[in-house]
């Protein structure tokens, strides 16, 4: 059962082809990874799903909804949330509020207004996020300002923000970038738990091959906007073209 269907997606920036006739589908409940060298179009693909970029050709369906018809802020309503390659947190807001930001579309404005004079609304809102903060192990940080927090916390907070909207599909853009080995392992566990405990489909962009190979159900390799390989980790590992592209990088990892 295919959940996210991408058909013949083509995106050009001023003549440069970022995505060239890309088609694949992501099944419900799997961890699907996109890999490829820098500039191969991974983030552009995310931006197309997310509505930031309007592709020139192709279609994106999620659970039968045509995502290209939606404005960026409506994407989250169809059950897709995302994180960013460069962490996009709000520095002078507490970690708790940063995460609450993700619950924006779940909070009823009317109820907020009605309960303005009491603390109740605040408590309802907090209840939404505290589970997830516990789940990610960052509950201690709720009252801390985001600015000055360690990078790892900021990354986790961003994932928490994406999770709090109760998505069906989460787009993770390089969650392990800039992490050390131990942190990367923790991230891997968290992604696995997102899939297994929360039942959320994961679409992952990542450069860390060990991480990708260890947790992905399927992997798609992009190069210069084209899909050059798609399959299970074992297949990809042995794919001649992939080895060609990744020779240097896999040796490092």
């Amino acid at each position: 059962m295919a959940d996210l269907i991408i058909e013949n997606l083509t995106m050009r920036f001023a003549g440069v082809v970022a995505l060239d006739d890309v088609s694949f589908s992501v099944a419900n409940g799997e961890i699907f990874s996109l890999i490829g060298p820098n500039g191969s179009g991974k983030t552009t693909l995310f931006n197309c799903i997310n509505g930031f970029n309007k592709p020139q050709g192709g279609k994106i369906y999620f659970n039968g909804n045509n995502l290209l018809e939606r404005r960026p802020h409506n994407i989250i309503d169809s059950g897709i949330s995302r994180t960013f390659q460069n962490v996009q947190n709000i520095p002078f807001m507490t970690v708790l509020d940063n995460i609450l930001l993700g619950s924006h579309s779940r909070i009823d404005t009317k109820a907020t207004l009605q309960r303005w004079l009491s603390q109740d609304q605040r408590e309802i809102e907090e209840a939404m996020v505290l589970d997830i903060m516990d789940f990610l192990g960052i509950a201690n940080y709720e009252q801390k300002y985001m600015v000055g927090q360690p990078f790892g916390i900021q990354k986790l907070a961003e994932i928490a923000r994406a999770l709090v909207s109760k998505p069906k599909l989460i787009l993770l853009d390089e969650p392990a970038a800039g992490m050390n080995d131990q942190e990367t392992r923790e991230i891997a566990n968290i992604i696995r738990e997102i899939k297994e405990d929360l039942g959320i489909t994961v679409l992952l962009v990542e450069h860390d091959m060990n991480l990708v190979m260890s947790i992905s159900d399927r992997i798609c390799v992009l190069d210069s906007g084209e899909i050059i390989a798609l399959g299970e980790p074992e297949e990809i590992k042995n794919h001649p073209k992939v080895i060609e592209i990744y020779l240097g990088e896999t040796a490092d990892a």
Partner: protein, 343 residues
């Protein structure tokens, strides 16, 4: 789960409110010139109401406005005309006039959908000039640039006159404005505002409609400014286009920034700091300097004001609230470092 989140030491808010209402009595006991201090406080109070709204717009949402004196003028003139020429009760005007100022905010919000940064600052500055021009153009109602006499506020059959009574009227609304401002800031609306300021993409990904919330920010800000305008018009009992100068708009932005943008308490502190500095502290200091050096030079007053501002910014660029936060964080952490998951 209950009680894990506390709205920053709620217990001292009632204490503060009681202090605010006791202050006039304390001042009266301390000094025979309490009326002067009350007047300056009243002015600060009106500006606080406006600056809470300006902070939500410029501090939280990052939409710089250099035309807030225009909103103040809209509120003031609307109310003056409604009450004195159309016989609308003051209490009703307190609702209608801010809404009209809010509508003006809505209109000026349209350009803000596309224009950002200092470009937006200039657009709003232009709005300030356009409002002034409109006031002069509608001569039959506004008396042009000659200024307009305004009646004193009438509430529940009582006419509120004198600095003493105005103080209680204004500060009741100041407290309401600060509470409402903080509620907005701490709600999903406030979070959306800050997200728009710091990362439009993160905001959109989180489901925030940028256009809607930018317009909302202008609308809310207009309402606060209009409210301040109503109180301004009726408590100062004379308004003219000279009151709503472009320099006033710049002063408002300074007040918000000195307080430390994106904090409602910061806006309050900043307003009090600048208004008291400019209208109380510096004139008194100037008297001393004139006395010591036996001069009459008038520019000394602006020199002192400029110097204090300048040194303050050099040594405390994060503003008053930033200073307070730094202190607080320091004492909270003292003497331990926070337990961290990642090193």
């Amino acid at each position: 789960m209950k009680g894990r989140y506390e709205d920053e030491n709620l217990y001292w808010i009632p204490v503060l409110i009681i202090f605010v209402f006791l202050l006039p009595f304390i001042l009266k006991g301390l000094s025979f010139s309490y009326k002067y201090y009350l007047f300056v406080l009243n002015m600060a109070g009106i500006y606080i109401i406006l600056n809470v709204g300006l902070d939500l717009l410029s501090g939280f949402t990052g939409l710089v406005s250099l035309g807030h004196a225009g909103f103040l003028a809209v509120g003031a003139y609307t109310s003056a005309i409604l009450v004195d020429q159309f016989g609308v009760p003051f209490a009703l005007s307190l609702i209608i006039s801010p809404l009209i100022a809010g509508l003006f905010g809505f209109v000026i919000g349209f350009p803000a959908l596309r224009i950002t940064g200092m470009y937006l600052g200039l657009t709003t500055m232009g709005f300030g000039f356009i409002v002034k021009r409109m006031i002069i153009a509608f001569r039959e109602w506004t008396h042009g640039s000659g200024g307009l006499d305004v009646s004193s506020p009438m509430l529940f059959g009582y006419t509120i006159k004198s600095d003493w009574n105005n103080y209680f009227l204004i500060y009741t609304f100041v407290i309401i404005a600060v509470i409402v401002g903080r509620r907005i800031a701490k709600s999903k609306i406030g979070r959306a505002f800050m997200a728009i300021r710091d990362s439009e993409q993160a905001a959109e990904a989180a489901g925030i409609n940028l256009s809607k919330y930018k317009m909302l920010a202008f609308f809310i800000s207009g309402i606060f400014a209009g409210f301040a305008g109503v109180l301004f018009a009726h408590t100062s009992s004379f308004i003219s286009t000279d009151h709503f100068d472009i320099l006033l708009s710049i002063y408002f932005i300074i007040m918000v920034l000195v307080g430390g943008a994106s904090s409602i308490y910061g806006a309050v502190l900043g307003t009090l700091f600048i208004v008291l500095l400019d209208n109380l502290f510096v004139p008194l200091l100037k008297d001393q300097i004139h006395f010591w050096f036996n001069t009459q030079a008038g520019d000394i007053q602006s020199l002192i004001f400029g110097l204090i501002m300048f040194l303050f910014i050099i040594f405390q660029p994060m503003g008053l609230y930033g200073m307070w936060l730094k202190m607080r964080i320091y004492w909270k952490l003292f003497p331990f470092n926070p337990r961290q998951r990642f090193t």
